[in-house]
């Protein structure tokens, strides 16, 4: 941790510097335009301060985004529609539900694929094909179809999340459940062990490192799914809605703050899984 501190902060610093410089370049056109109309030529320092403080800049600078996030989280009641926490919770609940469903579906499919040759041959190609369909095209259809049968709100978004998140779990768990080597399987055979027992005592524990790696990818995919699921609902609520509304009204600062919040949310969720992974695998003696 300590070792990586210097390189990581160096990279962050470089990004921030490039960001501020890029903001000057990208926002200067608007600043010059306004100055020209006011017939008031800009000095360099005026230019810089203008490009870093526009209301609808092409590229908002970090401190603008930070202050927007501060205003929409700390300074708002969390139940308010202006609160980013409220929107974040809407997205998070769909993400978590979709992640749970996707993980469940993924594990069930993987168990079937590992134990049944027929499923291995028939299901796996469909699992892969499912991910080649652009989710952005499928999402509105899922929303519309489910709405037609009276299902709306959290569940349709969760299903889109599930659609994206079950895939890494299937792939990872198939590999994980097949991780025991020939010797370990022979060993079980010498004890005349049934398939269910082999699963619980050998396959499932062996798959744990694969499961956690898959869960991290699934969680990130799940968040993307929830956000995508919020776009066709007419920008009512959620981080996806904030992104869409922001782009309708040219509120770039709002877009970026929703974007940063989504990224932070993903980072926290993935880090939590990483923590669970560390604890579990250490306890299982698989992290040495």
């Amino acid at each position: 941790m300590r070792k990586s501190f210097v390189p990581i902060s160096a990279v962050v610093l470089a990004i921030v510097v490039i960001w501020y410089l890029a903001a000057i370049a990208l926002n200067s056109a608007w600043a010059y335009d306004r100055a020209k109309r006011a017939d008031n030529p800009l000095s360099f320092s005026q230019l810089v301060s203008d490009t870093w403080s526009q209301e609808k800049p092409r590229l908002p600078v970090p401190h603008q985004i930070a202050s927007e996030i501060y205003k929409t989280t700390v300074l708002q009641r969390v139940t308010s529609k202006r609160s980013l926490v409220w929107h974040g919770w809407i997205t998070l609940s769909a993400t978590l539900l979709g992640f749970g469903l996707g993980t469940g579906l993924g594990i069930v499919l993987a168990v079937g694929i590992v134990h049944s040759r027929a499923m291995d041959m028939s299901v796996m190609p469909w699992v892969i094909a499912s991910q080649t369909v652009p989710i952005l095209a499928v999402a509105p259809m899922i929303i519309v179809v489910l709405n037609a049968i009276g299902v709306s709100g959290l569940l349709p978004k969760a299903i889109i999340s599930m659609y994206l998140s079950f895939f890494p779990v299937v792939v990872g768990m198939v590999k994980g459940l097949r991780a025991p080597d020939a010797m370990q399987m022979d060993q079980m055979r010498t004890w005349n062990t049934g398939r269910a027992t082999v699963f619980w005592k050998l396959r499932l524990p062996s798959s744990m490192p694969y499961l956690f790696t898959s869960l991290k990818i699934a969680m990130a995919a799940s968040l993307v799914g929830a956000i995508v699921g919020e776009l066709p609902t007419g920008a009512v609520a959620g981080l996806g809605a904030r992104l869409l509304a922001g782009s309708y009204y040219g509120q770039t600062i709002q877009i970026w703050s929703a974007l940063i919040s989504a990224a932070a949310l993903a980072a926290v969720l993935v880090a939590l899984i990483g923590l669970a992974q560390n604890i579990t695998l250490r306890k299982m003696g698989m992290l040495r």
Partner: protein, 261 residues
């Protein structure tokens, strides 16, 4: 030929593997009888089929010709009756289970009750001189200790036969000597029939009452040597003329097997 003390018996046993390079004749006309309480070693160069023969007896491979019986029944029935313990080249302990938990694994699978499990774990740990290590995890043990734990695991349930496939192959010479000595003690105390695969001449001669010398292409028995060494064998026995004479005969068998092949 088949007496009531015959535990394992094979007649004209053949096994041909179909590979992409064509058929490989792994075992050719194997005729062998193993009596109750014997310590039999299979020795030979790699590719001679010694491990394959052991795996046929354990029903991990199916022969393509001839017959094999274990405890008077087919290897499959014997395996289903849990008639043998099998020790592999690697200890193969589960890292998520303690040493005791690993030894308990076959007992759980076979449905022994909790009290019985604990009693048996304690007993076999004592047999392999690992008393007090049941709460340790495999990574806390040396390679030799791990292999001893895996032997304990194979001894934990009531099987009269112990199959061992180069169990000490990955260990250094000093550890190996020690484990060989321990294994003889264990054999004496448990009265098991042990079938042991090795490629070390001193190991085979030191341990065995019967040495089956095998040669490759096709895998076959080149010589069967009955050892007249006493049951009580200190390590120093390896310097006696009797020992060296048997070792010379094994070496001769290996060499002629190679020349024919």
């Amino acid at each position: 030929m088949v007496s009531k003390d015959t535990i394992i018996h094979t007649e004209h046993l053949n096994l041909t593997f179909q590979t992409s390079d064509g058929p490989v004749h792994a075992l050719s006309d194997i005729n062998l009888s193993i009596e109750r309480g014997e310590f039999v070693s299979f020795i030979g160069p790699s590719g001679c089929g010694k491990t394959t023969l052991l795996r046929v007896m354990a029903d991990l491979e199916k022969p393509t010709g001839g017959t094999a019986t274990v405890n008077g029944v087919s290897p499959e029935e014997a395996r289903k009756a849990r008639a043998y313990g099998y020790v592999f080249q690697a200890a193969g302990l589960y890292p998520w289970r303690t040493v005791g938990g690993n030894i308990r694994l076959p007992l759980e699978i076979m449905g022994y009750d909790k009290a019985e499990q604990s009693a048996r774990v304690a007993k076999v740990l004592e047999l392999v001189e690992l008393t007090g290590f049941d709460k340790k995890f495999p990574w806390q043990l040396s390679g030799g200790m791990q292999q001893r734990a895996s032997i304990a695991r194979a001894l934990a349930f009531d099987a009269d036969i112990l199959f061992m496939d180069e169990p000490f192959g990955a260990l250094d010479e000093i550890v190996r000597d020690h484990l060989n000595e321990q294994l003889l003690h264990l054999w004496e105390r448990t009265n098991k029939t042990i079938v042991f695969v090795t490629h070390s001449i001193p190991e085979a001669v030191y341990l065995s009452t019967k040495i089956v010398v095998m040669s490759p292409r096709p895998g076959r028995i080149a010589d069967i040597i009955h050892s007249n060494l006493p049951k009580e064998r200190p390590l120093e026995i390896r310097d006696t003329p009797e020992f060296l004479e048997i070792a010379a005969r094994v070496r001769h068998g290996l060499r002629t097997g190679h020349e024919d092949g």
